[in-house]
Amino acid sequence: MNALLALLSLAGIWTALQLPVGVASAGQPWRWAFFALLLALVVLAVATLRRLAALPPKGWQVRFATPLLFGLWVLLFWELLTRGFDVPKVLLPAPSVVWASLLQGAPTLQTDFVQTVLHSVLIGLALGSGLGFVVGVLIDRSPFLQRGLLPVAALASTVPLVGVAPIMVMWFGFDWHSKAAVVVVMTFFPMLVNTLAGLAASGHMERDLMRSYGAGYWRTLWSLRIPVALPFIFNALKINSTLALIGAIVAEFFGSPVSGLGFRISTEAARLNMGLVWAAIVVAAVAGSLLYAALEWVERRSTFWHPSIRMG
């Protein structure tokens, strides 16, 4: 049964991809054939997904296979619909078009990647999160400052901080320094709030134990409180990895040298070269996911003792 479904799907996909562009607005018989095929493929997609989702969720293969298959089906329907209805490229280019521009524009996108991700994002993320962490550790000693800064930092999360981008561009120039500065501003507060919450997370029992060992402030901080705070800190880092990419890309909308993913997206969108725009977005998306996955990997390595990691 499974093999039959897979075979049917492949046959349907192959037939559908042979159809000429703009078939949905062609003559009567072609049109009906297209819609019939589309309907058949929808039924097949639902059937295969249901079968896969009904499997017991054991092992990472099954857990990854279902969303992967779903993604593949979405890509396929995207390709079929854009081809069948001959959707203008400005509106929505087909995945094959995006892939072609990705290969064609690879050298350009590589310089953009270096400019935006390796310079603005990584440096800004390191500086902003580092600063937030250090300030968090410092004001942790003063309850007065904590009570004063925490509400302000919490309010900062409701403020569109990305608006500082034009100011930073004015202060630090067009190059990646200004983008890194925006990233620093955006990532500072989440790290500060989470560091403070994490440092407060160690219990009285553990702290009393440390005192009975004769451990001083720094020893307690290093051996007890920072390890306990690590899940919070990684949470902030993961939030920040997304914020950092957004900050760097949006800051490039306000002016940048002739490279950078945000610059590429805004200029090529203005020139209606949507294939390259989508390719730049694919690069940004992959960079964001990889950054997130890397943080998750480091987190699993460094907080191996945490219940949520041990159970999963």
Binding site: A153, L261, I281, L291, P307, S308
Partner: protein
């Protein structure tokens, strides 16, 4: 304690301010003001010395300071300059004039709210579908979570251009971007919330012979409200960011994002800062409104 494997929360959790923190907060804000004035003096001083004081020998700090705080185009405007600019642009111009800051605030607030409503509805529908369909839960939900590691704002120019080519301009394309940013926290929180009733509660509903619809409306929905409202607070802040960023590639016609962009084109720092402060105030007002609604709708529940 927040588990480490928790879903990525786009924003940090908000701390609830209590009355005991009024004095510390005021101290911090006061210190911030002092630092701001000092930084303005320090950053603007080179320009003042070069332009005004170079032909006036024997000047002192008393001459320098007032000048650094009243420049036409300062590197960093002093707080009172920003406040004055905001006050003037609100009082001196009628509400429908493009020079009034309130006009731009209104434009941005409108697309934020429309996007917020659309995003909330989309988030709710997705959450209900995911809770009720195992297939969607296993195939779609991972993508929704993965979509947050992607810099979604990067698609703003595409949405604007694509919808513009279909003849759609104005509020709607901007709201689409706000919607895209704010549906995610709602979906994730509602999936959690709709699943929060335990086996006991579900079995009780079963013994009442309640239909699926009854279980949904009488048990799952009320149980999900404490999850819904925090996600709405996050969502409306995200919607505001989306609306402001969406105004950037449209060629700066109206809205706070447009003010930021024109200010940056013409080097008008005071205008940038007043737009920035205004967007901060708008963000606070919108989140405050959601928090107020939450208190009205869940009496005796959450604070």
């Amino acid at each position: 304690m927040t588990s480490a494997a928790a879903l990525p929360r786009p924003r940090a959790a908000a701390a609830t301010p209590s009355t005991s923190s009024v004095l510390p907060v005021l101290t911090v804000l006061g210190a911030l003001g002092v630092v701001w004035y000092a930084a303005a003096a320090w950053l603007n001083a080179p320009q003042v010395i070069e332009r005004v004081l170079s032909d006036r020998p024997g000047w002192g700090l008393a001459d320098l300071l007032p000048l650094t705080w009243s420049m036409e185009r300062p590197v960093l405007p002093a707080p009172h300059q920003v406040a004055l600019d905001m006050w003037r642009s609100i009082v001196d111009w009628p509400l429908d004039s493009p020079r009034s800051l309130l006009f731009h605030t209104g434009v941005t607030a409108a697309s934020t709210l429309v996007g917020f409503v659309m995003g909330t509805l989309l988030g709710l529908c997705l959450a209900v579908a995911i809770v009720h369909s195992r297939t969607l839960d296993r195939s779609l939900f991972p993508w929704i979570i993965a979509s947050q590691t992607v810099p979604v704002l990067a698609i703003a120019p595409i949405v604007i251009v694509a919808l513009g080519s279909m003849g759609l301009t104005g509020v709607f394309p901007k709201s689409v971007i706000s919607m895209y940013l704010c549906f995610f926290p709602v979906t994730v929180a509602m999936v959690k919330g709709l699943r929060s009733p335990g086996v006991m509660e579900l079995e009780l509903m079963h013994t009442y012979a309640a239909s699926a619809g009854h279980t949904f409306w009488k048990l799952r929905v009320p149980a999900s409200l404490p999850f819904l409202f925090p996600s709405l607070r996050v969502g409306i802040a995200a919607a505001l960011v989306g609306a402001i960023v969406a105004e950037l590639p449209t060629g700066a016609q109206a809205g706070l994002g447009a003010r930021l962009l024109t200010g940056s084109y013409y080097g008008n720092t005071v205008q940038i800062w007043s737009a920035l402060v205004m967007s901060a105030l708008l963000g606070l007002a919108l989140t405050g409104a959601v928090a107020w609604t939450e208190r009205r709708l869940t009496p005796g529940g959450r604070k």
